[in-house]
Each structure stands twice: as structure tokens, then as C-alpha cells.
């Protein structure tokens, strides 16, 4: 019980947030900046901080009447200037073919100019603004989803919330839209939030809306932990810079990554929520108190302090000493096959195996259909007896197989389950951002969980941590 109350001291509660952090560090004027999306966009842009491009604004009913809807591009996001919690946002992905008055929304439903007009009228009327006061509507460019996030996000774009205090990024959370949240990256509406290791930008624990902890993205087999967010350090710099520019001492910065332009700041939040603590399994108050009062001159220094204080140091250290990356027993691997075709899969890291093997179906997907076909024609895609293998060797079957340009070798394997006679193909693996040119042996891995097994031959640059 004592422990319980001692631990609870580390958490930031609503009272403490308002009284000890927002009140003294976020002046009214600065708060007004954060609540006004157009203003904060302008200020950020002036200070060379990337923001989604503004397309148009509608300030009055008169402007709405005279608005040229055809001037809008085929994809855009329509937002209320003082909206909150992602309410009142409409995102369209394209125009309907041969129709000038229809756009297509994320769920493939159509939206007409009339719908948009009535939505804008609602925005102007203040239906989505903080206090119900009249508001301004604006259109901005729609960000393109990063390929890496595609399997993780359900219709919509994930965003990254970073809390910055005293120029130091103290905590971060990746928010992934789900089916339940209707493509919105809002925890309250059922999105997934994952904690992030501040040093590496790798996701850690995760929560789903209010349902508590999860390990897999709902509806998929993808693990919520271990995803390395690209552009991590530049995002931390972006967030710290936004804090400096906005004059908000205690700030939540929402960043999304555009596949072309990289990280861009979506909005600033002067009253960041507290759920981030649950997603990170860490107390914000403890972190804020550690950063409070220390003198930090530059944002680079602030980012470094944040990464050092709130990142998993141990792992980084080990990697530095050995010069080898530490990976777990199951890792995401990107395969680059013929004609640059890329596929990402989860692979079993197995130090018990010498050579790596790939499932034949996956090999076909990578463009090695012909080689697989040839191999199957020799009736080799199954377990063979030792005598059969001996006969194959005697007949010099490998010579026949290697005639095919895609087949770079033939491998014989012997195990408790029996022997196999496999062909090898050349594929580049990207494991933990390290490219490895590998010869993969094709096997029949149907019924096994992982379509790819990485063996010792391809693991020379890694240390394996079985706890990971």
C-alpha cells in the first residue's frame, strides 16, 4: 500500500498539470496561439518549421457563398480552426472520376460540394470550436501515409505526440488510427497509443483506447512494440523548436510524417492529455521534475538530454561496445526481390540453423516463381529420405537446377525431421536497417508461423537477445 502511494507520486494528475505546469509555464497569449491552428501554422512556418501546406480559408458566410470549390485539389483536409480532439475534420482522398462535384472520403463514401458547404457552415457557426464561438474553416494539404505505417494504420494517418518541457522532449506516444476510431488518431475514439523509447524512437508498450494494454495491433498479427519510427531525432528537434518558438513552456506537439516531405507539425497543444503515461508505462511528473530548472541553451542540447534521460540506455551502450546490433528472436525483415520488389515480413531468428530459408510462396511473391516451379517440377518441395538425397547427388541434379539464372546454389539439409534438397536464390534482406545480401534456400514452410527463417550465416553482425 505504501509502495502504491509512493509510485503514484511519479504520475502527473489533472490538478498538478493545471496548477504546477500549465499555469506557470503557459501564458495566456501563448495558449491562444496553440488554440488557433492557423496562427500557430503561420508562426511555425515563419520559423522554418515544416507544417502541412495551407490551401484556403473560409472566414465568413460571405466567403463561403463566393468560394470556388473547383479550386480545391483532389485531395485535402478540411478542419475547424479552433477544433479539438480531432472533431469536425473531413479528409478526402480523391475526386470521383468524371465528376467535378464529388470527392471520395477514406471510407470510400462520396461527399458533395453541398455536404462540404454545410459542414463549413457548421464550422463557421462554432459547432466544433472549444467554447462554441464562431470559427474559421480551412483547407490544408493531405499528408501521404508512409509505407512503413501502412499495415499499422487503419484508413488515416498516424501521428506522434511529443511532450516538451524546458526544451527537453520528455515523453512521446505514437497514435495509430484503428477501425474502431474510424481512421482518427484519437485515443478517446479508440485509436491505439504506443509508448516510445526516447533515445531510439522504437515503440514499447501499447494501449488500445480505454481497453488497456495490447501487444498486437487489433485485427492483425503485427506486434505493437519494436517498430522503429523513422526521422526520430529530427522529430524531437522539430518538437523542441516548436516549443521554443511558441513560448509554451509545457507543450504537446503533434507530428505526422508525410511520405514525401518528412515530419510536419500538425498542431500544438497547450493542455496535453495524461493517457500518454499509460501508453508509456511511465510517470510524467517524475520526468518533468527531473528536467525542471536545469539550464538548457540550445534545442540540440535539450533533445540530447531528453534522449539520454528517458531512453533505454543499456541496449544502446551494448551496441556501442560490441559494434553489433541487438535483435530479438523474431524481427521484422524487409526483403528486396527481383525488380526491386519489396516485402516486409516477420522472421524467426534462429541460431540453430546455418543457412536462412524462405517459404516458397513468399519466394514466388518476390518474383522467383519460375525457379520455384522448376524446383517443384523435380518433386523436391518435400521431405526426402537420405537415400533419395544420395541419388540426387549422384545424378548431379544440382547441375540441372543451377542452369536457371535465378538459382544461385543448391543446399542439402539434414535434420530430425528428415532431409531436404533445396535451391538457393539471391535476395537482399534488411534487418534492423542493416542490408544483408543473402542466399536464401527455398523451403516449404506452409503451416509454420514465420515465412522466413534467418540463420547463422546472415547473423554475423548481430547479437541475439532472447528476452526481446
Amino acid at each position: 500500500m505504501f509502495e502504491f502511494f509512493k509510485n503514484s507520486q511519479k504520475l502527473l494528475g489533472m490538478n498538478s498539470r493545471n496548477l504546477e505546469f500549465i499555469r506557470p509555464f503557459n501564458r495566456t497569449r501563448a495558449k491562444r496561439l496553440a488554440d488557433d491552428k492557423l496562427l500557430s501554422k503561420r508562426i511555425l512556418k515563419k520559423n522554418n518549421i515544416a507544417v502541412p501546406k495551407l490551401i484556403a480559408t473560409i472566414k465568413t458566410v460571405e466567403e463561403l457563398e463566393n468560394f470556388d470549390w473547383q479550386s480545391l485539389p483532389s485531395s485535402f483536409a478540411l478542419k475547424p480552426n479552433r477544433g479539438f480532439g480531432g472533431e469536425g475534420i473531413i479528409v478526402v482522398y480523391g475526386k470521383k472520376k468524371n465528376h467535378t462535384d464529388y470527392w471520395i472520403k477514406a471510407d470510400r463514401s462520396l461527399i458533395t460540394v453541398d455536404d462540404l458547404r454545410s459542414h463549413v457552415r457548421n464550422i463557421l457557426d462554432g459547432s466544433f470550436s472549444l467554447s462554441g464561438t464562431p470559427d474559421v474553416a480551412f483547407f490544408e494539404e493531405r499528408l501521404q501515409l508512409l509505407k512503413l505505417f501502412k499495415p499499422y494504420a487503419y484508413k488515416g494517418i498516424p501521428d506522434i505526440r511529443i511532450i516538451v518541457f524546458n526544451k527537453v522532449p520528455v515523453m512521446a506516444m505514437l497514435r495509430l488510427p484503428t477501425k474502431e476510431s474510424g481512421g482518427k488518431a484519437n485515443l478517446q475514439q479508440g485509436a491505439v497509443g504506443t509508448g516510445i523509447d526516447m533515445a531510439t524512437g522504437v515503440t514499447t508498450t501499447a494501449i488500445h483506447g480505454k481497453n488497456g494494454f495490447i501487444e498486437k495491433i487489433p485485427g492483425t498479427q503485427l506486434s505493437t512494440s519494436g517498430l522503429r519510427i523513422p526521422h526520430w531525432k529530427s522529430m524531437l528537434l522539430l518538437a523542441a523548436k516548436a516549443q521554443e518558438v511558441s513560448n509554451l513552456g509545457f507543450l504537446g506537439v503533434d507530428i505526422a510524417i508525410d511520405s514525401k516531405n518528412g515530419p510536419e507539425i500538425l498542431e500544438l497543444n497547450a493542455r496535453p492529455g495524461l493517457s500518454i503515461q499509460i501508453a508509456n508505462l511511465a510517470g510524467l511528473k517524475e520526468r518533468l521534475n527531473r528536467v525542471r530548472g536545469i539550464k538548457i541553451k540550445t534545442i540540440e542540447k535539450g533533445v540530447r538530454v531528453g534522449m539520454d534521460l528517458f531512453g533505454g540506455e543499456i541496449e544502446e551502450e551494448l551496441e556501442e561496445i560490441s559494434g553489433k546490433k541487438i535483435i530479438g528472436t523474431v524481427e521484422k525483415v524487409k526483403l528486396i526481390g527481383k525488380n526491386g520488389k519489396e516485402i516486409e515480413v516477420e522472421a524467426r531468428i534462429d541460431t540453430g540453423a546455418g543457412i536462412s530459408s524462405i517459404d516458397k510462396a513468399l519466394a514466388e511473391e518476390l518474383g522467383f516463381g519460375e525457379a520455384v516451379k522448376l524446383w517443384e517440377d523435380f518433386h523436391l518441395d518435400k521431405i526426402l529420405s537420405t537415400s533419395e538425397i544420395a541419388e540426387l547427388s549422384k545424378n548431379k541434379t544440382w547441375k540441372e537446377l543451377e542452369k536457371h539464372p535465378d538459382i544461385v546454389g543448391v543446399a542439402k539439409t539434414f535434420s530430425a525431421h528428415g532431409a531436404t534438397y533445396r535451391i538457393e536464390i539471391k535476395v537482399t534482406l534488411i534487418l534492423d536497417s542493416l542490408p544483408i545480401v543473402s542466399k536464401l534456400s527455398i523451403a516449404n514452410r506452409t503451416g509454420l508461423i514465420y515465412p522466413l527463417l534467418v540463420g547463422r550465416r546472415d547473423l554475423r553482425k548481430f547479437l541475439i537477445d532472447v528476452n526481446k
Partner: protein, 218 residues
């Protein structure tokens, strides 16, 4: 009931201030402090401070708690229902609320008529002001629905109801009324209490509950 009446209260009464009004005005700071305490220390939000306060007084002014609660529930229920009915019409905010107010008024009028018909004279004789107060709940409810969604609005309405019922019992507690009549100055105690609540930075009871799953793992 024989209670000591403070000279100052006696003076107020001789000056023509109704006794009931004096009690209500003295009770107001107590209820307000109670609501502030529930918000900051316990974590029950409700619709701000004004709505539960005014609802408490509406309950006090209706003849018995149950009619007050009945009217409250009808107002919230109609608010819910009308949102669904009016959604396809895509109306602007104020006309939409106006329609809701119309429907609520008509339904309460019907209730009163039925109450009279069933000889529930208590209901029919409820004075108009508490009814009007509760009808204004509709706007608060609708605004919250738009801002935070149906579920959050319902939760807040429920919390408002609970606070108002608790407030009702506090305000009609004989012991407290006796105290306020005998020692009206005790009301000033709410000031230091509010200063303490206003400086309270600890976790709210509701936050212990919200973070219970992670507190042990920190």
C-alpha cells in the same frame, strides 16, 4: 423544532427577508464548496459548477426529490433521442437546440397533465422555475454531446444527477441548517477550505482508478 437562532438571522427576518431565502443563500457556498471538492479531490466532473448547483436548488424547490429526478431524466432522455432524430436534418446549432427545448417543454407539460390526471398533485404543482432551470440543462447536454460525444455527455449528466442528489441531502440536512442558523459565520470556513482545494496538486481519487494498472509497474 426549537433551535437557537443567531441574532443576525433574527435581524434579517425582521427586515423582511424570507427565512427560506436566507437558508438557501447560506447553503449555496456549502454546496458550491462540496462540488469543488468533488471535482478537484474526487474527480467527479459533472457539467461544471453552475449546473449541478442550480440543479440542486431546483430539486430543493420541487416537492420532493423524486419529481425533480423524474424531470431531470426526462430532459436528458429527450436530449439523447432528439439528437438521433435531428441528425439527418443537419440543422445549425441554435435552431436545433430550439427544437429540442420545444420538445422537452411539450413533454414536461404532458407529464404534468398526466400527473394531475393520476392525482399526483405533487407533480402538477411543481413551480415553474425549477422546471425552467432543468429545461436549460438541454443546452448544456447538447453542447457536451457535440464536444465530447454521446457517452461522455451521458456520464457527465449522470454525475451531475448524483452530485445534485447528494447536494439535495446536504442542503436539507436539519443538523446543518440548525448550525447555519445558530452560527451563520461558519459559512466563512468555506473560504479557507476552497483555498486548500484550489492548491491541491495530488492525484484525484478518479485518477488513482484511471492509472491503477500502471501505478504498480512504475
Amino acid at each position: 423544532m426549537e433551535t437557537a437562532i443567531s441574532p443576525i438571522i433574527r435581524f434579517f427576518i425582521t427586515e423582511g427577508v424570507p427565512f427560506q431565502t436566507i437558508i438557501l443563500l447560506l447553503m449555496l457556498p456549502v454546496i458550491a464548496t462540496f462540488i469543488a471538492f468533488l471535482r478537484q479531490v474526487v474527480g467527479i466532473k459533472a457539467f461544471g459548477i453552475y449546473t449541478p448547483l442550480i440543479t440542486t436548488f431546483a430539486f430543493l424547490a420541487t416537492n420532493g426529490l423524486r419529481y425533480g429526478v423524474a424531470i431531470f431524466l426526462v430532459v436528458i432522455f429527450v436530449g439523447m433521442l432528439m439528437r438521433f432524430i435531428l441528425k439527418p436534418f443537419r440543422l445549425l446549432y441554435l435552431p436545433r437546440v430550439a427544437i429540442m427545448l420545444t420538445v422537452v417543454s411539450l413533454i414536461i407539460l404532458t407529464m404534468l397533465v398526466f400527473g394531475g390526471n393520476l392525482r399526483r398533485t405533487g407533480l402538477a404543482s411543481v413551480s415553474i422555475f425549477p422546471i425552467l432551470i432543468m429545461i436549460t440543462l438541454v443546452e448544456k447536454f447538447v453542447a457536451t454531446q457535440i464536444e465530447k460525444g454521446n457517452k461522455a455527455a451521458l456520464v457527465l449528466a449522470f454525475e451531475t444527477l448524483i452530485i445534485s442528489i447528494l447536494g439535495f441531502f446536504i442542503a436539507s440536512w436539519e443538523g446543518l441548517i440548525g448550525l447555519l442558523i445558530a452560527h451563520p459565520w461558519t459559512i466563512l470556513l468555506t473560504l479557507p477550505i476552497n483555498i486548500i482545494i484550489g492548491k491541491w496538486t495530488g492525484l484525484r481519487v478518479s485518477e488513482y482508478f484511471r492509472f491503477r494498472s500502471i501505478i504498480k509497474k512504475l
